[in-house]
Structure formats: structure tokens, C-alpha cells
Amino acid sequence: MSEALLSAQGIGKRFGSVVANEAVDLTLRAGEIHALLGENGAGKSTLVKILYGALLPDTGTISWEGQPVRLTSPAAARRLGIGMVFQHFSLFEALTVGENIALSLGGGERMKALGKRIAALSGQYGLPVDPDKVIADLSVGERQRVEVVRCLLQDPKLIILDEPTSVLTPQEAEELFGVLGRLAGEGRAILYISHRLEEVRRIAQRATVMRRGRVVGTCDPRTETTRTLARMMIGSDLTSVVAPVPPGESAPVRLAVRGLSLARGIPFGVDLEDISVEVRAGEVVGIAGVAGNGQNELFQALAGERGSMPPGTVEVDGKDAAGLGITERRRLGLAFVPEERLGHGVVPDMRLSQNVVLTRHRTDPELRRGVTINVDEARAVAARVVYRFGVRAGEDDPVAGALSGGNVQKFQVGREIDRRPAVLVINQPTWGIDAGAAVVVRQAIVDLARTGSAVLMISQDLDEIFEISDRVGVMADGRLTPLQPTAELTPEAIGLMMAGMNAAESPAPADAH
């Protein structure tokens, strides 16, 4: 084994009273793919930001090729040879690939020369990228390739990737793994952050596992099982979701969407085209698909956030809901959980009890006394949700923004399920939350369905789709495939539907404007 390329010793970082990292040691060697494993909130992001110079550690030292260094800014990290591909892309949608890359390089290089370099690099690594295409026209997978190419143009010795496969189809992920293998083969080190254990076992030679801000172990993931890795990550065995038998075809349809088409409301949005889906009492219907294919538009349309729609396109228990606003839809028995928690589903600076009032003020008469709010009842509902869904809150009735992502999600899911809605529409139920909270949320979804409600779950997490949905449809480019029983499908088949329709429908090469 070669000597350490980067070595971090005793890294510590606090945010107020929260310990994000404590006594963290990490060693990266040239030519290895090193996985950084941990639940959400385990301190992975903090550590990575420190390694990339975006945060300064409170304690500890970092050595690069044997020399102690101080990474005071991302620019300093880049100069040493550390590159990073972020989970959330930082690309300007209205600019071309080449323009975006030129912006980040900052030099006075001519566009033509840069274009040649991009083409050469993308050929070398099998990362097809067209420098003249506008970002808005690219799929999520293509955008990630742009990020990777942009990173590689700086010829980094260490490449950090943050949850790179969370936005990819299985096939696209496969291609990425090939590229990573080639990069490692050239002697570059790769730090791969993930919580997907199967992936890590396949591609990484070493893994560092973090829990609650500390490193709990380093191992060779190839010799571990998914179960042993999960135990290291979580500290205990993970319970799995119990899903009883789904209802038969005779169960009544509670949510029916028929021939729903809706033009995009914002630039770079997606037009919904002829969406039809029926959800029966007792079942969970999953909508799979790569992010950005119309899922958010579908959610907003169902929630009535996009104004009224042609009559008959949305029905709840046989009643037409298409012309109704979000409040009237809730009164018909619909409940909604959006993907964005803070700022959409909950107000971060308001207390949990106030956030109960936010969505339930017209459906729960007890929450109101005339024009005033029944504060005691709101607190009681909030306390009930906190208790039933295991929301970890530091104090009684804290502001929502003080909770971790997983706990906010447990709260906003619990807030709706506590109403016992006829139909629950939920978008990305476990996006960005820890594995323990994800199990709670998924179990709650299944339990709600089995009591006779209908659940429409939009998710880009295929594992989740397979774990709890009874039937599944795939969204691609604003269209939805007919539903099929999940049991009759494989991840590869769904992946092909996600990508296949994309390829067939992808627009002709856009002219550079």
C-alpha cells in the first residue's frame, strides 16, 4: 500500500452546542476508492466540508502528502488537488455546459480551447458531454457528468463525491462506477460518501463509518455484509418495515387521476401529459422516476397549488376535486407531504404547534374557537405527533427549524397521518433523512394504507419503492407509465423505463443561443 495522500487527525467541529465532529481520524491513499458511511446527521458532510476547505475545524490537523496544511478555502483545497462533486449541483440552467465550466475555472481561457479540452476529457473517461448544450436541456445524470468533468479539468489527486448515485438511474450509476474505477486506476484517490451499503460493498476498497460525529470503525466493505455495515452505521440492528398483504382489485378507488395534462408553470419546469392513476383503499402506489421528470409538478397539481384543473381530472372518493383549492381538497380527505420540508411543509421559525395549525386549521374544528386559535389543542396535537412518531425534540414544542431533517420529516408525516386522511399524497418521503427515521416514516405510510386509506408515494429511491409500494408507475418527461404490481418488476426493468422514455423523448440538440 502506498503512503497516505491525505491524513486527518483528531478533527473536531462544534456548532453551538451541537458536536458535529469529534476526534475524527481519516486516512486516504492514492489509488483507492474510500467510502465514507453514516446516517444523515452522522457528521459526514461536516467532515467533507472541512476537507474541501469550506469549513475550518476547531481542533485537529490535516496533512497532504505528508505536509501539514491548513485548508482555509475551497480555492486553497483545489490548488492542492482536491476536487469535489456536490450532491446538489451548482450549475446555471440558462448557460451552456462550456460556459458553466469556464465560470468555475475563472481563467482567461478561450471558449474554443476549453471546448476541446472538455471533449478530450470526456472521450478519455467515457463521460459524454457536449460543451454547447444548455444545462436546462440536460437530464440529471448528464448534469452530474458535467460536474464530474468540471472537477476533472482541474486534474485533482483526490475527488470527493457526495451521494452521487442518489439522482441516477441504476444504469447511469453503473456507468459512474466504471468511471470511478478508471480514475482510481490512474492513482487518484476517491472519497465516496454514501449510505447505500450495496454500492459501497461493490466499489470501495475501504470504508470509514461515522456515527454521531465520531468514527466508529474502518473496514474493508468487500468482506462485510450489508447487515454488519448497517449495524456499524446505526449502532443496532435496523428493524424492517412490516407490510401485510395488499388489498385485492375489489377495493374501492379512493384517488383517481384521469387524463391530467398541465403546462409547466415556471421556466425549466416540466409539462404534465395525460397522467392517469388510480389508488385503491388499502394500497400504496409508488411513482418512481429520476428527479425532475414532472414529479414535483404532479405533486403540486394534486395538492391544488397550481390552481384549478379541468373537471374530472382529480377525484377523491368519487367526488370531483379538480376545481378545488388546497383547503377544500383537504376537507375532502386529502393530505399532503411535500418534498421540501422547511419553507414548504413547515415554517422553520414557528413552533410545532403552530405548524399543526398551518395545515389543519380548516379540517380540525377543535383547533379553532371562532376566529381565535385553540392554542392548547394545537399543543396537544403536536405533543401527540411527537410521541407517536418518536420525534426527537430537545424541548416542549420547539421551533421546527431546531429539529434535524429526519425529525422534521417524522413530524410533518405524523401531522398528516394523525388526521387519518382518506388519501395521502407524499413526495420523496425519506429524502435526506437517516435510516432510523426512514423506517418510522415508511412503516407509518404502510400502516395508514392498511387501515383503508390510499397512499400515492412519489419517490426516486428505488429501494423504497420496492420496499413498500404495492403497485408502481414510472414518470419520465412528464408522462406516467401504466401501473404494474411491484412484485412483478425488477429494479433493472424500472431503470429502463426511467431512462428509456427519456432517451426516446430527449429533445434535438439545442442551438446555442
Binding site: K49, G53, F336, G343
Partner: protein, 373 residues
């Protein structure tokens, strides 16, 4: 060395109290510097401005007289600003409230019933409400910036008043001065404390404080105001109409400003004149923010700013400085209040330069603010 501004995980309750006090302290220091620059003794200047007015009984009365309109208007404005709707035109709504409220004493000077004053107050509030509903409507219907339209309507209102005073409202026995007749006794706001200038407007302002507090903390309407202001997307998700909130808060703040206008006209002034206020409607914006949009704190902010008006008058006499000094102090105070409010949501960290011993490789690195925001 560099200075970083970091978002606090939670708002600091300490800073919520300390920020306005810090702003006042910085204003005093800046004021002292200005006095020095003008060749005046800074301590004496500050004494004249902020202490002397509190040493005599009549100036304390005067403080109450000036604080009443400021507090009333600022209470209304705080509703708008909480909802992220920017009513800058309270001065115009104040003027229109005075005009509509004055219709009875101008046209029915002989009517001496107990009903006169309550009717005038209602009409004054209605006039301000109407004037404020114009920019709200333009904003909701056409997307016009309410900041500009509400501000421009201030000048429309003032010229309208000017025209009225030269024409329909002119005092028939007023030797052609542009003023209305003096209001009859039944149309005057009664004196609250005998032998002072303090009128029952003070009671109205103080009653409004708990009402606004109750509205914000306990009612669904107040909840809607806060949700729309803090998280418009969540407000829509909750089924609250942003447009309704904008129109509602504008109307409420217009009514408060209009009420303040007629209380002023039928109170200390006793008639309509071309200049009704020393800029109460604009100064109330500062009051609202110094009070951090909190109804109780607005009372104290109103008193503080009223003090700077009196200080300005005193400075004119004792220091021979322009009364515009009061405006300078108010502006400086607003500047510091807004700057210090940043500290409630953020903290400042001073990062020392890297120690040379530990930074051979990155020692040459350019120091830039961190990018994780």
C-alpha cells in the same frame, strides 16, 4: 484576519433584546461625533437632545403628544411588515384620514352632539383605509410595487389637502388663509389630564397595543400574517392567501394611520392646515423597526423617537442647530437598528490569520470567506 457572518441555528433571544439597545448606543456615539464635527460639545449636545426634554413636566407631556401618532401608525405598519408587504405611504393615509375625518366639523360646524367625535374617528380610519387599499389593489391585481405606489400616493394626498384648503375646506372667516375653521368643541378630542395637552388619543393608542398583540398571537388572521411573511410557499401550502393578507394588512395599517391623522387634526391642531405632521407617517416606519415589529416594544420605540423630535427642537434653541438634526438622528438610528437586527439571526466570528507554524503549504492561499452558505 477576516470577519465571517454565520447563520445562527436558532435566533438569539438575548440579541432580540440587546440589538435595539446596541443600536441606540451606536447612535449616541455617532451623534457625539457629529456634534464634534459641528464644533459643539458632544456631551452637552447629547444632554440637550436626550436628557433635557425629560427634566420638565411640560416636555414630558409633549413627549406623550408626539408619541401617540407614532405608536398608532407604527402598530399598523408592523402588521404590513410582518407580512412582507411594504407600506411606505402611512404619511398619505394619515393625511387622508385627517381630511375625511374633518368633513363633519368643516360642513356641520353647528352640530354639537356626543356622536360627532366617534363619527369623525370612524370616518378618519375609513379614509386612511381607502387610501391604503389603492396600492394594495394595484399590487395584487397588476403586480405593481406597493413601495412606489404607496409612497407616491403620499404626495397625491398632500396636494389634495392643499387644494381643499384653498377651495372647499377654506375657512370662510379665515382672511383667505389656507386653513379650515377651528373645529367646534364637540369635534375636539377631549383632554385626558386636566391642564395638560395630553388627550384621549393616548388611551386609544394604549388600547390598540394589546389588541394587536392578541390579533397576532391568538387569531388565525394574525397567524396568516406571520406565515405569509415568513414562508410564502408554506403559507400557500397551508391554504392562506397571500393576496388577502396583503390587502388586509394594508387596510389595517391605513385605518390606523387615518385614525392617527384625525386624532392629530381634532386634537393638538384643532383644524386642518397645509402641514399636518412633522413626518409622523415616515418616522413611524423607524418606530416599527426599532420596536422589532413587536406591539409592546413599539410603545417604547415610539417614546424614544418622540424624544428625538423634542431634542431637535431643543437643539435649535440651545445649540442653534437646524431642527433637521432630529431627522439625522432618526436616520442614523434606523440604520443601526437594521444592521444590529442581523445579529439576531446571525453571529459574527473573527477568524485570525493562519498561524505561520502550521501553514507551510497553504500559507500562500488567498483568504476568502467560506462558501458554505
Amino acid at each position: 484576519m477576516r470577519i465571517e457572518i454565520l447563520k445562527r441555528p436558532q435566533n438569539s433571544p438575548l440579541m432580540a433584546v440587546a440589538a435595539p439597545l446596541l443600536a441606540i448606543g451606536l447612535t449616541l456615539i455617532t451623534g457625539a461625533v457629529i456634534f464634534v464635527a459641528l464644533g459643539k460639545d458632544p456631551l452637552y449636545g447629547l444632554y440637550v437632545f436626550y436628557v433635557e426634554p425629560l427634566t420638565a413636566l411640560w416636555t414630558i407631556e409633549e413627549l406623550a403628544v408626539k408619541a401617540v401618532p407614532l405608536i398608532l401608525i407604527a402598530l399598523g405598519l408592523s402588521l404590513c411588515y410582518r407580512a412582507n408587504a411594504w407600506n411606505i405611504g402611512a404619511e398619505g393615509q394619515f393625511t387622508l384620514g385627517a381630511i375625511t375625518g374633518a368633513i363633519i366639523p368643516v360642513y356641520f360646524p353647528e352640530w354639537n352632539s356626543w356622536m360627532v367625535l366617534p363619527l369623525m374617528l370612524v370616518m378618519g380610519a375609513a379614509g386612511g383605509l381607502f387610501w391604503a387599499s389603492i396600492p394594495a389593489f394595484l399590487r395584487v391585481r397588476f403586480g405593481a410595487s406597493e413601495i412606489l405606489t404607496s409612497l407616491m400616493l403620499v404626495y397625491v394626498a398632500q396636494h389634495f389637502l392643499d387644494w381643499l384648503l384653498r377651495g372647499p375646506f377654506r375657512n370662510p372667516n379665515g382672511f383667505n388663509y389656507g386653513e379650515t375653521r377651528i373645529f367646534q368643541e364637540a369635534a375636539r378630542v377631549p383632554i385626558l389630564i386636566a391642564d395638560t395637552r395630553v388627550r384621549i388619543g393616548l388611551v386609544i393608542a394604549l388600547v390598540a397595543v394589546p389588541l394587536i398583540w392578541f390579533l397576532l398571537r391568538r387569531t388565525l388572521a394574525g397567524f396568516a400574517v406571520d406565515v405569509v411573511g415568513q414562508a410564502p410557499r408554506a403559507a400557500r401550502f397551508g391554504g392562506f392567501s397571500r393576496n388577502k393578507v396583503i390587502v388586509g394588512t394594508f387596510m389595517a395599517s391605513g385605518a390606523f394611520a387615518g385614525l392617527a391623522g384625525i386624532l392629530e387634526a381634532a386634537g393638538p391642531l384643532g383644524q386642518l392646515k397645509p402641514v399636518l405632521s412633522p413626518g409622523y407617517g415616515f418616522t413611524a416606519i423607524i418606530v416599527a423597526f426599532v420596536g422589532r415589529l413587536n406591539p409592546v416594544a413599539i410603545v417604547f420605540a415610539g417614546i424614544l423617537i418622540a424624544l428625538s423630535y423634542l431634542g431637535g427642537e431643543a437643539a435649535q434653541i440651545s445649540l442653534r442647530l437646524s431642527e433637521k438634526m432630529a431627522r439625522v438622528f432618526q436616520g442614523v438610528l434606523l440604520f443601526y437598528v437594521l444592521a444590529c437586527n442581523t445579529l439576531v439571526h446571525n453571529r459574527i466570528r473573527i477568524v485570525r490569520s493562519p498561524r505561520p507554524a502550521s501553514a507551510p503549504a497553504a500559507g500562500s492561499a488567498v483568504e476568502v470567506g467560506n462558501g458554505n452558505r
